[in-house]
């Protein structure tokens, strides 16, 4: 494969345009079919709205884009520094990666109001949330990329009498570039999402503020117009970084950005305990060092008191656990449905190669849409009940797993496929014996990353609309200044979503030990 063709894989193929045209037509058709129900605004309505409210939209967009850009830079710089530190200090690798995961699992919706009281008014919280939304998806690929090089390259550097720092600067950094770009590509829409979530939870300006206002006013055109602009901006950012990668790189983009064991291997429970202890210490030290008042900056011991030792601790626990249970009821079916649909559709579409050629670029583009920013739209369309929430989670999980599975299926080793063809085995036999096993690593990588994503989706709708579950509990606690409950729910959600991630990782190890031993060996 030539360098050009290889780099081109960073960008959706041109036949994605056909898919996009179909999508827009279908959207308009749906809008006409449901005309009068105030559910869907079609592309024509959206354009009409935009032409009437261009100035307002442009102001909001530039505000949100500015915050997203700052968060993007901050988050990615943090990711690069963390990955470099983990590389230069191998013994700290597991702890760094574990802490990074835990921070990534913080529920952004509730982190927003906490940051608001800590940082005051202004764009600070939105920027931090954007940074929090991006750093992990850059950090993990970088951890992998920094090691994705043949040993002889490092032997060569050592043979010039140089050590790990030169190795990192001259070889690893460059070898990791495709991974960095793949991470940045995912990060661009995620930063936009983070900034918007920050605006959902109490800012004065920006796309998120307009979105919440439009949703509350049941303004269908405005809601759809805002979601469309957010989607378009994200796709453009994704494509822009892809184009940049294509100009800079000669290598193929990596398929699996977060293989299991990227963080290094070690005893599970012991490492988990270490990470938790470090997290508690960091939590306490940061707040103490900043000298923040315990009224709103709760320390670990406040958490302990509120949920374990205080007279009303039992009630607080019951409230929190009840809310978590409500949320779990929505997350689980949505998560599973999204995963299964993603994998199932990827397999089905592989049997129809022409469909795959159209669907993949389209799905790649749609994956880059920050689904959460369209939550208000789904709430409008599907109502505030269970269906809307479960659907949102499912969509959130569907796109990344669909794209990952399609890539994985196409990764099937050509030689093995040739052997099957030489037996004149049918399409289905090929699929079952070669392609599906080749899909598992990508599938599980997506499944792991989808855990925090679906928790984010569910808490956002609960916060904005449904009045149920832990998201709603967070919103309520924020408005009542019940900081014990707010911090408590942040901690609980982060722990649960981290536990979910680890649990999926455990299943992954079991499965890959059978189907892809080389992935687990790292």
């Amino acid at each position: 494969m030539s360098a050009r063709a290889a780099a081109a894989a960073f960008r959706p193929a041109p036949n994605g345009l056909a898919g996009a045209a179909l999508l827009v037509l279908g959207w308009e058709a749906a809008a006409r079919a449901f005309a009068g129900t105030y559910l869907i605004a079609g592309p024509v309505d959206v354009l009409a709205y935009l032409s009437g409210n261009g100035a307002l939209m442009a102001r909001a967009l530039s505000e949100t884009l500015g915050n997203a850009a700052l968060g993007f830079v901050a988050g990615n710089c943090a990711a690069i520094l963390l990955a470099a530190a983990a590389q230069l200090w191998p013994r700290g690798r597991a702890a760094i990666a574990g802490l990074a995961l835990l921070v990534f699992c913080l529920p952004l919706v509730a982190t927003g109001p906490i940051l608001r009281v800590l940082l005051g008014p202004g764009p600070g919280p939105q920027i931090v949330l954007a940074a929090l939304a991006v750093y992990y998806t850059t950090f993990v690929p970088l951890l992998v990329g920094l090691r994705a090089a043949p040993a002889s390259w490092f032997d060569l550097v050592r043979s010039y009498g140089r050590g790990p720092v030169t190795e990192l600067r001259r070889v690893r950094a460059r070898a990791a570039l495709p991974y960095l770009f793949a991470g940045l590509q995912i990060a661009a829409p995620a930063a936009f999402l983070g900034a918007m979530v920050g605006e959902f939870t109490g800012a004065e300006r920006g796309m998120g503020v307009l979105t919440v206002r439009a949703m509350r006013a049941l303004d269908v055109e405005a809601t759809w117009a805002l979601a469309s602009v957010a989607a378009l901006v994200s796709i453009l950012a994704y494509a822009g970084i892809g184009a940049l990668a294509e100009m800079v790189l000669r290598e193929r983009p990596p398929v699996i950005l977060s293989p299991p064991g990227a963080a290094g291997r070690g005893a599970g429970p012991a490492r988990g305990a270490l990470v938790l202890a470090l997290a508690v210490a960091a939590w306490w030290i940061v707040l103490e060092a900043a000298g923040l008042p315990t009224f709103f900056a709760k320390r670990p011991d406040d958490f302990w008191a509120a949920f374990v030792t205080a007279p009303d601790a039992a009630a607080a626990r019951a409230t929190l656990l009840g809310a978590l249970a409500e949320t779990a009821i929505y997350v689980l079916p949505g998560y599973l449905a999204g995963l299964l649909l993603g994998a199932g559709l990827a397999i089905a579409i592989l049997l129809v190669p022409a469909a795959a050629a159209v669907a993949l670029p389209l799905a790649v583009a749609l994956r880059s849409v920050p689904i959460v920013t369209s939550a208000p739209l789904l709430v409008l369309a599907l109502g505030r009940g269970a269906v809307g929430t479960v659907t949102l989670v499912a969509i959130m999980v569907f796109f990344p797993s669909f794209v990952a599975c399609l890539h994985g299926l196409r990764q099937a080793p050509g030689q093995v496929l040739d052997v099957f063809d030489s037996y004149a085995a049918g399409r289905v036999a090929r699929l079952v014996h070669v392609q599906v096993p080749a899909m598992w690593p990508a599938f599980f990588a997506a499944a792991r990353m989808a855990v925090p994503a679906s928790v984010l989706a569910v808490t956002v709708v609960e916060w904005l609309a449904t009045g149920q579950g832990v998201g709603s509990l967070m919103a309520l606690s924020a408005s009542l200044s019940d900081y014990d409950m707010l911090w408590g729910s942040v901690v609980a959600v982060a722990l649960l979503s981290g536990a979910g991630y680890v649990a999926v990782g455990a299943v992954e190890r079991r499965v890959l030990a059978v189907y892809a031993a080389e992935q687990v060996a790292g």
């Binding site: 030539s2 002889s152 043979s159 000669r250 290598e251």
Partner: protein, 261 residues
């Protein structure tokens, strides 16, 4: 003090955590005089690569000593240059940048670096390919670029680990001729690992045959015939038979051992 490379009673045992220790080499002694071309021949796994890595200073010995010009080898040094089996060029650098990589790491100023790289590219016959990337080169060209990169350090010993194993037979023969030309113009010593008796006979002043693991020296065969050598000359055919026989004994031993495992 002896000039050149002196490997005396070197042993190497790998002790991987939680597994049986592996005795890779035992009690190996080789003297390589200045400008001498020595070829190491032995069955797979007998420690040839390990020996080159120890000479390069990338791996420590567990017994014995390696010295160069009388000074003990403890770390890599510019007088010993290693060439890998796969060319291991950086795909993102041009040929010119790859050849100059070591010079730039050693902070040779750009002007002088460019001059030396141009000179090297000319010598290895890649003058026209300096601005290409490795993916645009044939396997033989890549290996010549790797040779140029190694020569850039002005080494006194070239350490080559199966440098031509990945090449087709015709390219291989051309590369051997080419290597001999380079060698006779630099008069560096060469320590080259190969699995091919023909290659050993075409190149070596002396062939060192290793036993199966743990690698020990089974035989040393000096070759005095002038180069270029005719492989079909009677005395070369005799030597080839002799070497093949020695090698076959050890290969069979190592196969037997593997089957027992």
């Amino acid at each position: 003090m002896t000039l050149g490379l002196s490997i005396s009673n070197v042993s190497k045992t790998f002790s991987p955590a939680g597994r049986e220790p592996v005795h890779a080499l035992r009690d190996v002694s080789i003297e390589v005089a200045l400008g001498e071309f020595v070829v190491l021949l032995g069955p797979s796994g007998c420690g040839k690569s390990t020996l080159l890595f120890m000479v390069a200073g990338l791996e420590s010995t567990t017994g014995g000593a390696i010295a160069f010009d009388g000074l003990e080898v403890r770390a890599p040094g510019p007088e010993r240059s290693l060439i890998f089996q796969e060319a291991s060029l950086f795909p993102w650098l041009t040929v010119r940048e790859n050849v100059g990589f070591g010079l730039s790491i050693r902070r040779v100023p750009p002007g002088e670096r460019a001059r030396r790289v141009d000179e090297l590219l000319r010598r290895v016959g890649l003058a026209g390919a300096g601005d290409r990337h490795p993916s645009e080169l044939s396997g033989g060209m890549r290996q010549r670029a790797a040779l140029a990169r190694a020569l850039a350090m002005d080494p006194e010993v070239l350490l080559m680990d199966e440098p031509f194993a990945a090449l087709d037979i015709q390219t291989r023969a051309r590369m051997q001729d080419h290597l001999l030309e380079m060698w006779s113009s630099t008069r560096a010593s060469v320590l080259l690992v190969t699995h091919s008796v023909e290659e050993a006979l075409a190149l070596a002043d002396r062939i060192v045959v290793f036993t199966a693991r743990p690698g020990r020296i089974k035989a040393e065969i000096p070759i005095t015939a002038p180069r270029p050598r005719d492989p079909y000359a009677p005395e070369m055919v005799e030597l080839a038979k002799h070497c093949s026989m020695l090698l076959r004994e050890e290969v069979e031993k190592s196969f037997k051992e593997q089957e027992l495992l």
